[in-house]
Structure formats: structure tokens, C-alpha cells
Symmetry: C2
Subunit: 132 residues, 2 copies
């Protein structure tokens, strides 16, 4: 493996939300493959103003850190809801179900995962954040 | 360990550059402890306009990903120099020595590390980027 890999999350990494029919409410660029990572995954996520992600998810083994880049919104973590603002960092344990929604300015964030991970470690939880 | 931890990288996590005498040219908030992470580390770094970090570093085991949040600049990776712009993501292998410098707008970035890591896994390389 080479010593480094450089890519642009927004311009060079595919937006997976397009093929899942979630564009333009959601933008999701998963860069694990583009970056040829060995230990880590990173993705760039953008939720349109007032959009709530259509599902929650949890992991088998992968701890994740989310960092808010712009806008704001909320995250639901099991039975708690937290407010998010720029440069907030949120660590989420693997087994904790989490789901995001954007505030009126939209929500732009990075998601990082370590250890055994990737999408195959994730379990989608449909209809999990149904109420306010 | 609880299911999640929320902190603000800039407002709630100590700026280590102050105690190392590198403020205000550099701002460095290392959040591994504040986030009580199990597998990951994250830090927020801001270099003042045209400031070059005073040392390079490499790691024993920790792969890292840097994501540019704002401004721009350059990274020197062994004998290569790359230009950096917002939302560029840069994976760096543990043994690759890397050092950053800001362009005229400054350079704001996040650094993520996985696996066995933390500052005790890092080796500082003084005077490593001495020429242009």
C-alpha cells in the first residue's frame, strides 16, 4: 500500500444517495475505497434543510465519531435527542442506534469509523425515529 | 461505557498548542479523552495564514485521515508535496512522515486516527520540511 491517498469527498467520491433514491434530500459520499484505507472509514453526509434521515442504524463492532461541519440539527441516540452545531463531535458506541435530522440550515457532517467496519457491519433500523 | 459522548472540538476541548507555546499560529484540540473513545481519536487543527507546522510526525501503528474543513495549504508526505482544498481527504500510512503548512487563508482540518494510537504512538520529526 502506498504512503498516502488524496481524494475530494464531495467532488471525487460517488454520492451513494443517488442510487438509493434519496437525492437531493441526502448526499452521502463514502470514501473507504477511494482512500484505500486499512483501519478507518470516512464519509461526508449532507442533509437538506429540515430533512430527517429515513432510517437509523447501529453497528456490530464499529465505533463512530461524527463531526458537524456546517448547519445544525439533532441526533436521536436510543431514547435521547441532542442538538448539534458546527464543530460538535459525537462519539457513538457500536450498539447504540442513531439517526440524524437537519435543522432549517441543513446539516453537513463527517462520519468516521474505526476497527472492523464498513457498510457490512451496519444494521439499518427502519422507522425508528417516528415521533418528535 | 455510555452509548455516546458529545463535545465541541473548539469550545470544550483544550487547545494543546497553548501549553506548547505554538499559539496563536497553531490551534490543536485533541478529543480522544473528551470523547471517551474506544477505537478512534480525532483532533481539530487550525494553522494561521502561511504558517508551516514546526515539525513533521509519523506513527508506529496508527493510520490517519485528514479532512480539510476550510482554507487551504499543502502537505509534505515523505518527498511529495500535495495541495489541499476544502473537503479534501488525505489518508496517511503510519510510517509516512507528514507535515502541513497553511496557504494565505489559513488551514483548518480534522485529523482522525484508528487502531492503537494516540500521541504516545507518534514520533516527532523536527526540522523535516526545511526547504521549499
Amino acid at each position: 500500500m502506498s504512503g498516502f491517498t488524496l481524494t475530494n469527498l464531495k467532488e471525487e467520491v460517488e454520492d451513494s444517495a443517488v442510487k438509493f433514491g434519496l437525492s437531493p434530500d441526502l448526499e452521502s459520499h463514502f470514501a473507504r475505497e477511494a482512500l484505500e484505507t486499512d483501519q478507518l472509514g470516512v464519509s461526508y453526509q449532507r442533509l437538506a434543510p429540515n430533512f430527517r434521515a429515513p432510517f437509523g442504524h447501529r453497528h456490530g463492532q464499529q465505533e463512530e465519531i461524527y463531526v458537524v461541519l456546517g448547519g445544525g440539527g439533532r441526533a436521536k441516540l436510543e431514547d435521547e435527542i441532542v442538538e448539534l452545531k458546527p464543530l460538535d463531535a459525537l462519539r457513538v458506541a457500536p450498539e447504540t442506534t442513531r439517526q440524524f435530522e437537519a435543522g432549517p440550515e441543513g446539516l453537513e457532517l463527517l462520519a468516521f469509523g474505526g476497527g472492523a467496519g464498513g457498510l457490512q457491519d451496519a444494521e439499518v433500523v427502519d422507522g425508528w425515529w417516528a415521533d418528535e
